[in-house]
Subunit: 324 residues, 2 copies
Amino acid sequence: MDDLASGLVGWADVDAAAERIAGVAHRTPVATSGTFDSLTGTRAFFKCENFQRMGAFKFRGAYNALSRLSPDQARRGVVAFSSGNHAQAVALAGRLLGIPAAIVMPADAPEVKMDATRGYGAEVVLYDRAAGEDREAFAARLATERGATLIPPFDHPHVIAGQGTAAKELIEETGPLDWLFVCCGGGGLLSGCAVAARHLSPGVKVVGVEPAAGDDATRSFRTRSLQRVDNPVTIADGARTQSLGRITFPMVLEHVHDMLTVTDEEIVEAMRFLWERMKLVVEPTGALATAGVLSGRLDTRGARVGVILSGGNVDLRAAARLFA
Amino acid sequence: MDDLASGLVGWADVDAAAERIAGVAHRTPVATSGTFDSLTGTRAFFKCENFQRMGAFKFRGAYNALSRLSPDQARRGVVAFSSGNHAQAVALAGRLLGIPAAIVMPADAPEVKMDATRGYGAEVVLYDRAAGEDREAFAARLATERGATLIPPFDHPHVIAGQGTAAKELIEETGPLDWLFVCCGGGGLLSGCAVAARHLSPGVKVVGVEPAAGDDATRSFRTRSLQRVDNPVTIADGARTQSLGRITFPMVLEHVHDMLTVTDEEIVEAMRFLWERMKLVVEPTGALATAGVLSGRLDTRGARVGVILSGGNVDLRAAARLFA
């Protein structure tokens, strides 16, 4: 059974996604830092997805998924549930492709996130957390009522393939890597990047990095059975997912070398380095991979290390409190 | 009388500086922002000197100046007075060229700045503000005693020529520009960039941007006579210089189209845009040119506008207070 037949995602899917997003998604720059290399004993290459459109890698997967809809599906629109980067990614991809997008958000989501999503031309549909219905079920019902297509935030082959283009671009620019550190929430970026990296740099060891409070993927990886975590409390809001997905979990098991966790304090230290030394605004979730390398928990000395900086969407007031 | 004979700086000097710094200074990237363009009605190109070595354009001028010393001068070392980016620039250039560097700082300068300068291998020499001697005189005396060469922060042909390479690189990448906005403290960056820009893009209008509290250069430009300001209170600490220099003042008069001032509040708003929307850590002085475009005081609509982001060295704790 090949990758597509199994529902998993292979190199051909990432390669096809790269063609679809070419000229639409930014080919983001790769940053280096002599100070980081000295500190860690590595030669590190940072893929700056904080400079991606709407500020995070999520645009890659959302655009790829929306661009694959049939004309009829496109006409009927898409539904996504997210109050974070996936919301803005689907909204922007929808606007660019002329596909109506409805984003489901909790009624108590920050006004600024609703406005940003509406700013990209999407409809924001509020649901009431307190009413007991979960967001996914609410969004699925809305999609069914409207005949719209549900675009999940990570557990979808076209989303995963799109996210993998970040690692493809990185390695095309740097050449072979010994390690690749990627943040992990639901595992879309991690599994897509792992497929791309192992194709382009067969010896690479791909590592997923999670917040310690939301260590479900690490436990799932170690036990080889899907573990969950409920509402983890961490500043890495993009990694507050409950578990890996039906597609991403087997992909992580197959392609990822190791998983590790970092504390919120380690995330803030990584952010401080990225902001102060590298002049890069990176959000807490976006600093997970950097924190993973800095933790020294894996011996990367002497190695060529890729690091995905997944996004840069922060509220400066909130970030200021982290650095105060 | 040609430029060199007059002590001023011409295109040939900038071009020669570019050769000297090639492969040593970073050729920094040029950023764009669709949101900025929509807001201002321009097509803007941001030269990211926050990504320059030691975090600011100052490295260009310092390295160029130090690289021009004779072997005998190099052996006897250099002296500079600065507690800001010029200190670190001279320190780093000295280390790279094997030239001993002594940096004069006030005894009450922040420990972190002294440490950063020592970190680049320079000697820090403290002087006592309260003793009445001014810093320049103290540094000049120290240089004389040691037989060392004084490297002033802006009023020096090789420093100015080095700074001009920032505009050279920008326009080589973007093609002709209609406007170029540059921050102005002592006018080294402004005059060097103006020479380079007018050579490569003859129709360009170069604009210097100052903090309102330190508007000496704007007043000097309008009155065509050198004006001073004492200890201006502004968050743009790199533009707290008292006046333009003997070399930079006539160059500004000759090459600059207009000067304008922005308030500290406008600087913070420009920083907020650069950090939050463009994911770039830029220091207050580094955001002056951006604030100048955003102010709308000059009609740049429909134009191709270059903006120099001069540096990104901020203490995150202090910056956090600005955004709080």
